[in-house]
């Protein structure tokens, strides 16, 4: 594997790989699985030195995944990347890692509580895996004491892998992909377009991963200091989650476990940075400047969080009758957590100030709005993204201007740049599909049992990779109690769709449908030919 990595990184044109089976999809899946297996084995090692309960599950999963991934990687080579294949590649990779990522949970019997059957265990494991890799943070785990430390760290690690994207990782170690590589990154990356930091795509991907790793280390150190130097394990686990804007925590009461203003402050800052474009972070590091204030999307993002926090503080203070300090603490943390699509909670228990399902409806609706919007483009957060919301608002304003002057040509500008009509149309299409998916998701989840409030919250949360939702799926609740098994599978699918920003999964499905209809047409044609020949024979 190491030899392959070296060859991949060093080879200018992939000459040593000639003669292998050409399949970009299998090749990328192979790299992704190999990377996952490293994480599984590392967590198995941690498990062996700590609790030791789930060592076998992690090591076996790691070995099987590593072998399968290594074989796929070794036996295939990236072929020509067509537009149609890019989306199938990304979608297949994510489906594969979601399913394989569930294996450690199944083998460890993490969800074998309360007389759960094998099917339910598998469903819960797939849900947890999808939630982890999509950096959502919704959980079906009821007993947080049962899994060992290694398995819990693996759960956190799923966020970290998924946050920046396993395909970006694959592209980083694969210089053969060229232009197709950028398309792969674009298909996976959050936002309407992806910035190239360097002319080489693989170099861009590597730099993004470097920033990501650096940010994770800084977050871990800051958490460790804020927590009073008490636990490296906790610091690393939470650094994985905040860097990926995930939402998993090793504790049932999430950040509320610490009940510490210092820890909450560090987490708030890290979540805000996690919801900011990593391209900006790279520029800040590389140019040793502070480019944030010059970025209009970042300014809007901060303004949005500020306004939402202010409104909620007032509502909690006046309507929920909390003290001003409790209102500020609960509101700011929750607004940043949901506004960056992280989903961590500072609720110390049901009914505590941080338990936002007990807040007045107005405050919950503001949170719902934040869930829909999400963070900045190029960040690890989910949602529609601030930039898209700006383009949508400007499109709406252009509609206002068109009512006055129907024939006017009015370009849409973001800062000094004019947004091309192609991007505007793509953003509008994305919004429409997002809206349709929310409706279809609500119909599906409510048809499979679930109340409207929880269903609405869960679907918006799943598509925005948020984690906790509203109603019965709030920050102190559990998805297993709120939704039936099929509904959980629907939500898991929505999480993956949301993580890939809708298009890849839908296009992969469309591709499959096209292939199916082509096969049917070929079958009909063959039948017609056969019948003609039979007629001629007669």
């Amino acid at each position: 594997m190491a030899r392959r990595l070296v060859l991949s990184a060093a080879g200018p044109a992939g000459a040593p790989l000639r003669g292998r089976f050409a399949s970009t999809t299998l090749h990328v899946i192979g790299i992704a699985l190999a990377a996952m297996s490293v994480g599984m084995l590392a967590c198995g090692l941690l498990e062996a030195f700590t609790t030791g309960r789930d060592t076998a599950a992690l090591v076996v999963s790691g070995l099987v995944t590593g072998t399968a991934g290594g074989l796929m990687w070794y036996l295939t080579r990236p072929g020509e990347i067509r537009k149609r294949h890019v989306f199938s590649t990304v979608a297949s990779t994510w489906v594969a890692i979601t399913c394989v990522g569930a294996v450690p949970f199944v083998l460890a019997g993490t969800f074998a509580t309360g007389g759960a059957g094998f099917v339910e265990q598998v469903v819960n494991s797939v849900f947890e895996s999808a939630s982890g890799y999509s950096a959502s943070g919704s959980t079906v785990l009821a007993d947080f004491e049962m899994p060992g430390r290694g398995l819990m760290m693996y759960r956190q690690l799923t966020h970290w892998y998924g946050g920046m994207g396993v395909v970006v990782l694959a592209v980083a170690v694969l210089p053969f992909l060229g232009v197709g590589g950028l398309e792969l990154i674009t298909a996976e990356a959050p936002g309407p377009s992806s910035d190239r930091l360097t002319p080489r795509v693989s170099e861009t991907a590597r730099r993004l991963w470097m920033v990501y790793i650096g940010f994770t280390i800084c977050a871990a150190v800051a958490f460790f200091v804020a927590d009073g130097f008490s636990s490296i394990y906790d610091a690393v686990a939470h650094a994985f989650t905040v860097a990926a804007t995930g939402g998993f925590s090793p504790y049932a009461d999430s950040i509320g476990h610490y009940d510490s203003v210092a820890v909450e402050t560090v987490v708030i800052v890290c979540m805000i940075l996690g919801g900011t474009s990593f391209t900006l972070h790279w520029r800040a590091v590389a140019n040793r400047t502070v480019p944030y204030h010059r970025n209009s999307e970042f300014r809007t993002y901060l303004a949005m969080l500020g306004v939402a926090a202010t409104v909620i503080v007032l509502l909690l203070w006046l309507e929920n009758h909390l003290s001003l300090s409790s209102s500020i603490r609960a509101a700011v943390f929750t607004v940043v957590s949901l506004g960056t699509s992280t989903g961590l909670s500072n609720a110390t228990g049901p009914g505590s100030p941080g338990d936002y399902v007990t807040w007045v409806a107005g405050a919950q609706l503001v949170l719902l709005f934040l869930m829909v919007v999400g963070g900045c483009t190029g960040s690890t957060s989910g949602g529609i993204k601030v930039m898209r919301m700006r383009v949508l608002s400007l499109t709406m304003l252009r509609g206002v201007q068109h009512t006055q002057t129907p024939s006017a040509v009015i370009p849409i500008r973001l800062g000094r740049d004019i947004v091309s009509e192609r991007v505007v149309s793509r953003v509008a299409g994305f919004f429409l599909l997002h809206f349709l998916l929310v409706i279809c998701g609500m119909l599906a989840v409510t048809a499979l049992e679930g109340d409207l409030e929880s269903a609405l919250g869960a679907v918006v949360s799943a598509l925005g990779n948020m984690g906790p939702a509203l109603g019965e799926a709030g920050p102190t609740s559990n998805y297993a109690a709120a939704f039936s098994q099929p509904a959980r599978l629907v939500l898991a699918l929505l999480m993956v769709i949301g993580r890939l920003e809708i298009f890849p999964i839908l296009l992969a499905a469309l591709n499959l449908a096209d292939r199916g209809s082509a096969a049917v047409r070929r079958g009909r044609f063959s039948l017609q030919n056969l019948s003609r020949r039979l007629d001629l024979g007669e």
């Binding site: 409806a361 949508l392 509609g399 006055q404 009509e421 793509r426 509008a428 409510t446 048809a447």
Partner: protein, 476 residues
């Protein structure tokens, strides 16, 4: 004034109040007609702004009537009731057992007038005054030319068709054994998709006959004036060829079937409520709020989609929803081939990219309006579920909603901020998005002009205070 005449003998005080407000309306209208000249060229912005002003004035006059007669104690309640009436939204604060015949009839008439104006704007004003293909998404397209060759003929035809359809509804209700007042109120409520019945439990207390008449009436009203036109002319081909009608019927069938598979709901009830929601009428034959979540979500979606173009009902409109689906599908295909030429057609008419973009803008504005409504209602103290439902229902001009409002559209469960928050939502839903956008556009333009003028004045004042020597610039 007609309602006042109808009330003579039943409640004379109400009759006098109605006559006074009616006379005031007539005087204002006469003065306006005489003093204000029609503009030589009606620009889109002016037309939309005029539409906005018209609805606002109607609602204010209606509120004056309710407040003047004492049917509702406070002016804000009267405003809500008037807005609900003119916007054909089936929510009410009137206590039917205490309200006089005059007030009930007036409530029905407000819906009828609201429905008529909505049809006239969609079918006559916009396509004739704004002969612009850029606005095709807001108008009725080619088929409108058949019904409306010009403004005067179109108006006359619409009046005859709408009046005839209303009369048919009233006669059908009379044949079912209802009294004249009840038949009139129900007929006006059915034809206009207003949904007002004058009873606290909507149509639940009526027999199968009136319910069947209501269902058929809502179906026709939701399908719009073109359906009535085609039926009146005996032209079945356009009926069959209409993409919008086929989609409307298909959606109704799917909604009915999806609700009817629910174990507690019969096919009849499911069909009735599907038509009621999709036509945005708001009649109810049962308390559907206890039907189960999936059934209520289907009703919410049906209410959001709404009626066909040319109907007095509200919602996003079937045609727009259909075009947007086509546009989204095209966008999905364009991801695979950025240079693909993807055509979206409406009844054989290919729509330009620009029109589709504007439709996209319309849809964004619609969702934003619902979102703002949800936030407004939530902050006004309405529950989360109630806010979402009430906002969609008000913007689609349906009325009944889960939560505080309930299946029969009673507003007593809402506090005054919640009730008042419904008024702009209902009006925005009734006016549709373009006039609303035009209103915002005019405000923005006035604001910019004012800012520019104030800046100019400030610069002038500074120049007067501190005149620069001209030679300094020349030397420099």
């Amino acid at each position: 004034m007609l309602c006042g005449l109808a009330g003579i003998g039943d409640d004379n005080a109400d009759a006098v109040a109605f006559a006074c407000v009616g006379a005031a309306c007539a005087i204002v209208a006469a003065v306006a007609r005489q003093r204000v000249a029609a503009p030589e060229r009606a620009t889109a912005g002016r037309v939309f702004a005029g539409i906005g002003l018209l609805w606002t004035l109607l609602v204010l006059f209606g509120a004056a009537v309710y407040a003047g007669t004492g049917a509702l104690r406070s002016f804000d309640d009267a405003l809500v009731e008037s807005a609900a009436g003119f916007t054909t939204t089936a929510v009410t604060l009137l206590d039917a057992s205490e309200a006089s015949r005059t007030v009930l009839l007036f409530r029905g008439v407000t819906s009828w007038v609201g429905g008529l104006i909505a049809i006239l704007i969609a079918v006559v004003t916009l396509p004739v005054v704004l002969r612009s293909t850029a606005l095709i998404g807001y108008t009725t397209g080619r088929r409108g030319m058949d019904l409306v060759p010009n403004a005067s003929v179109g108006t006359r035809r619409v009046l005859v068709l709408y009046g005839g359809f209303t009369a048919a509804c009233v006669v059908a209700y009379l044949l079912c054994g209802l009294g004249l007042t009840e038949a009139l109120v129900l007929g006006l409520g059915t034809a206009s998709t207003g949904g007002f019945t004058g009873r606290a439990d909507s149509l639940a207390g009526y027999g199968a006959g009136p319910q069947a008449v209501a269902a058929a009436g809502m179906l026709v009203a939701g399908a719009g004036i073109f359906l009535i036109w085609w039926i009146a002319r005996g032209r079945l081909r356009p009926l069959w060829r209409s993409q919008e009608l086929r989609t409307f019927v298909l959606l109704l069938a799917v909604a009915t079937a999806a609700m009817a598979v629910h174990r507690d709901i019969g096919w009849g009830e499911a069909g009735f409520m599907a038509v009621s929601m999709m036509s945005t009428t708001g009649f109810a034959v049962a308390d559907w709020t206890g039907w189960g979540t999936s059934a209520t979500v289907i009703m919410l979606v049906a209410a959001g989609i709404g009626t066909m173009m040319g109907s007095p009902g509200g919602g996003m409109k079937v045609m727009r929803a259909r075009l947007l689906m086509g546009s989204a599908g095209g966008e999905l295909r364009r991801q695979l081939d950025p240079y693909a030429l993807i055509l979206v057609r409406r009844d054989g008419e290919t729509l330009s990219r620009r029109t589709l973009d504007r439709l996209g803008g319309h849809q964004i504005a619609w969702v934003a309006l619902v979102g703002v409504g949800v936030l407004l209602l939530g902050i006004s103290g309405v529950s989360l579920l109630g806010s979402v439902w009430a906002s969609v229902s008000a913007v689609s001009t349906v009325g009944p909603a889960m939560g505080e409002i309930g299946a029969f559209g009673r507003l007593e469960g809402l506090d005054w901020p919640g009730r008042l928050a419904l008024v702009p939502l209902m009006m925005a839903g009734r006016m549709s998005i373009p006039p609303l956008m035009a209103g915002v556009g005019l405000l923005l333009r006035w604001y910019r002009t004012a800012v520019r003028q104030s800046r100019f004045l400030v610069v002038r004042a500074e120049q007067r205070r501190d005149p620069r020597p001209e030679s300094a610039d020349a030397d420099g």
